[in-house]
């Protein structure tokens, strides 16, 4: 997080999201590795780790990170995101023909769900997939940046890898307000048809959040479609779809809940309080309370902890154990917020399921279930 940025941002965003948006800097590869121990199933973090390693010219390590990200994305049903990670991996070391075919088979097996970009890539033949993958150009935008405006000549077709954009279409009827549609992850957009002629943009598309896109330029797509006519038909059809549905993500962002834990290492023991943020089955991030942070957050590093997650005064999950693997100070020097990342020890299935339920049911629902259970079932 930038030094002059308000720590209040932490009240709203997940720590992972702040890292992905470069609002919390992870300076070293070693620090990132400890963070990945906390969230071992998060493909977004592996992708980010790969980017960090690439900028540090650690190509071999970056390749492994992109490879892991591609596999995790695919596992989560996020085919487009997997393909982008794979492109980055293969930009470091060119794949063998066999690797290419195996990856293509994995995409086909994964299937497309109801999402335009996923549907497209899951239906392409190997040759068609390679032809498109080789020509995708990555683009990053900040909120407010415009992809194209009404009347501009269309230059390509775009696939949304992450983030959201607003598509504003002027109405033909005079005086009618423009219609705005939110474009989301996995949507395809761009007024490029007919391919053989000049075409012009009918809408204005602007980034609503931090966005990553991949683009295929019109001349390139035209050449590809000339060789593979089916690609044209599919893109034309799917670019009209606006069905938003992500993959089945295996990681969760937990609602705000207070947390206490006992840190016990080297013979000392202390009770610590904080607010849970991101939660996965592998670990969690905790923003420490001011009183706790006032002691010495650095001393918590590598200590064994036993956690109790509270909701209000009620214990939601008890006796989770783990180790503090990562810590970070964010915010201004006058008002810092201390965050720790905790890697959970292997847990019983019951605890694992309880964590899962904790993330998917509201306080009211959970309270009602617990109250009724105490009243009606508990012996």
């Amino acid at each position: 997080m930038n030094a002059n940025e308000s720590p209040a941002a932490l009240d709203h965003d997940s720590v992972i999201q702040l890292i992905l948006n470069d609002r919390i800097d992870i300076e070293s590869a070693a620090e990132f590795e400890t963070l990945l121990e906390v969230f071992p199933k998060n493909p977004d973090l592996y992708r980010k780790f790969g980017d960090l390693l690439s900028t540090k010219k650690q190509s071999e390590e970056a390749l492994l990170a992109y490879n892991k990200a591609a596999a995790l994305y695919l596992e989560a049903g996020m085919v487009l995101q997997s393909i982008v990670a794979k492109i980055l991996e293969w930009s470091i070391v060119k794949p063998s023909h066999r690797e290419g075919r195996e990856y293509h088979a994995a995409i086909r097996n994964k299937g497309g769900g109801d999402v335009p970009a996923q549907l497209l890539f899951s239906q392409l033949t190997y040759e068609e997939t390679v032809s498109l993958m080789l020509r995708l150009v990555r683009i990053r935008l900040s909120p407010g940046e415009t992809v194209y405006d009404v009347g501009q000549e269309s230059t390509g077709i775009y696939f949304i890898v992450s983030g959201g954009l607003a598509e504003t279409l002027l109405q033909k009827k005079e005086g009618a307000p423009p219609a705005t549609t939110l474009l989301a992850e996995n949507d395809i957009f761009g007024d490029i048809f007919p391919l053989e002629e000049k075409s012009f943009c009918r809408a204005c598309v602007t980034a609503a959040t931090d966005v990553e896109l991949v683009k295929i330029s019109k001349p390139t797509l035209k050449a590809t479609c000339y060789r593979y006519p089916r690609v044209r038909e599919m893109i034309e059809r799917l670019s009209r779809m606006r069905v938003r549905q992500g993959g089945d993500r295996q990681w969760k962002t937990v609602r705000r809940s207070s947390l206490t834990f006992s840190a016990n290492g080297n013979g000392d023991r202390q009770t610590v309080q904080g607010t849970a943020r991101d939660l996965s089955l592998g670990g969690m991030c905790v923003a420490l309370s001011n009183e706790t942070a006032g002691s010495d957050p650095d001393a918590l590093l590598l200590k064994k902890v036993v956690l109790t997650i509270l909701e209000g005064n009620r214990t939601a999950i008890d006796r989770l154990s783990g180790i503090v693997a990562w810590r970070k100070k964010v915010g201004s020097s006058n008002h810092p917020t201390h965050i720790v990342g905790i890697v959970f020890d292997p847990m019983a299935e019951e605890t694992e399921m309880a964590l899962n339920a904790f993330c998917t049911i509201s306080n009211g629902e959970q309270d009602m279930i617990w109250n009724l259970w105490n009243h009606l079932v508990r012996h």
């Binding site: 994964k110 939110l182 399921m353 509201s362 009724l372 259970w373 009606l376």
Partner: protein, 325 residues
């Protein structure tokens, strides 16, 4: 079941079978056993019945029927080795009861393609049987929820442990929001509201489905809200507490019934509780078919009771809606 003779001598059914889906979110709570018991109860009532292993990620229903290596599986149908689901059915010791085995080494419910899901749903509607019982896998993936929502009779199983109750509730909650999300998928403004409300920590302070519908109506979509409310009335799962050891344990399903009514605006039915039955465990351990269970066992009696209640009012098919026809 009524059948009609065709010109070439083969027969086909005049109507689609009634589909039962047995789900519950958590693994190891007895979904497969209850699926078989319900199928047995239907068969014993004289109905031609097929039980399908829908737990494609961990297919093992056949082992409960004493089948070690199935000769034909659902994958043979998906892979087009057979043209209909009837052709991959395997007979069982129980008269009028057939089984379609799963094939976990090839497919998982999580990666079932949309076209494969559609193909299975359409093929289920064409099975020559009176009833089809679908044993769903654990978890709340979209495909599992879609199979659940497409069924005429939805059964949710739990055990009397808090975590199993939470997960059974989360399963129903996800099914409700999946239904709403599918209804609004082409209406971005409404879809945003539904997706936001799905998040239990949403900032809109929408904590119940009725509040969500009020919010949708207030946004100028009163007819959509009314339509959604009507569709939600079609979700009427039967809740079964399995492996109860004391009478009090059977109240677990009552908890979900009350929470679902208040927070999800759905009317779930409190089904019979099933006591833990060592005989079932013994049959499973010996890999003997569950069809050999004593007919006076509490478990099979519960299945009879569920079947009697449900078949009293057979539902309107929803498969066409589920596959977007």
């Amino acid at each position: 079941m009524q059948r009609q003779q065709t010109d070439n001598g083969s027969s086909h059914s005049l109507r689609s079978p009634q589909v039962w889906a047995v789900g519950g979110g958590k693994g190891g709570i007895g979904k497969s056993v209850l699926s078989i018991l319900i199928a047995m109860a239907l068969a014993e009532k004289g109905k031609e019945t097929v039980v399908i292993d829908g737990d494609l990620g961990g297919a093992n229903l056949h082992t409960f029927m004493g089948i070690r290596t199935p000769g034909r599986t659902l994958n043979d149908f998906i892979g087009r080795r057979y043209g209909t689901l009837d052709e991959v059915c395997i007979g069982t010791e129980q008269k009028r009861l057939r089984i379609i085995c799963g094939a976990s080494e090839v497919l998982t419910m999580a990666n079932l393609k949309y076209t494969q899901k559609t193909k299975i749903l359409q093929a289920i509607a064409k099975i020559e049987a009176d009833h089809v019982v679908l044993d769903l896998g654990a978890g709340t993936g979209f495909n599992t929820l879609d199979f659940f929502l497409s069924a005429h009779h939805q059964v949710v199983v739990m055990t009397p442990q808090p975590v199993a109750i939470q997960n059974a509730y989360a399963f129903i909650r996800n099914a409700v929001y999946r239904k709403l999300s599918r209804m609004t998928s082409r209406r971005p403004a409404l879809d945003d509201l539904v997706r936001a409300a799905m998040n239990p920590k949403n900032d809109m302070q929408v904590r119940t489905v009725s509040t969500l519908l009020e919010r949708i109506a207030a946004n100028g979509a009163a007819s959509d809200a009314a339509h959604m409310a009507a569709e939600l009335k079609r979700i009427r799962p039967v809740l079964i507490t399995n492996m109860a050891r004391q009478p009090r344990d059977k109240n677990a399903s009552r908890i979900i019934q009350m929470v679902a009514q208040k927070h999800l605006t759905i009317q779930a039915r409190n089904g019979e509780g099933v006591y833990f039955d060592p005989q079932i465990n013994a049959l499973v351990s010996a890999m003997e078919p569950l069809t050999r269970v004593d007919r006076d066992s509490n478990a099979i009696q519960c299945a009879f009771s569920v079947v009697s209640h449900q078949t009293g009012a057979e539902s309107t098919p929803d498969i066409a809606v589920a596959v977007g026809m």
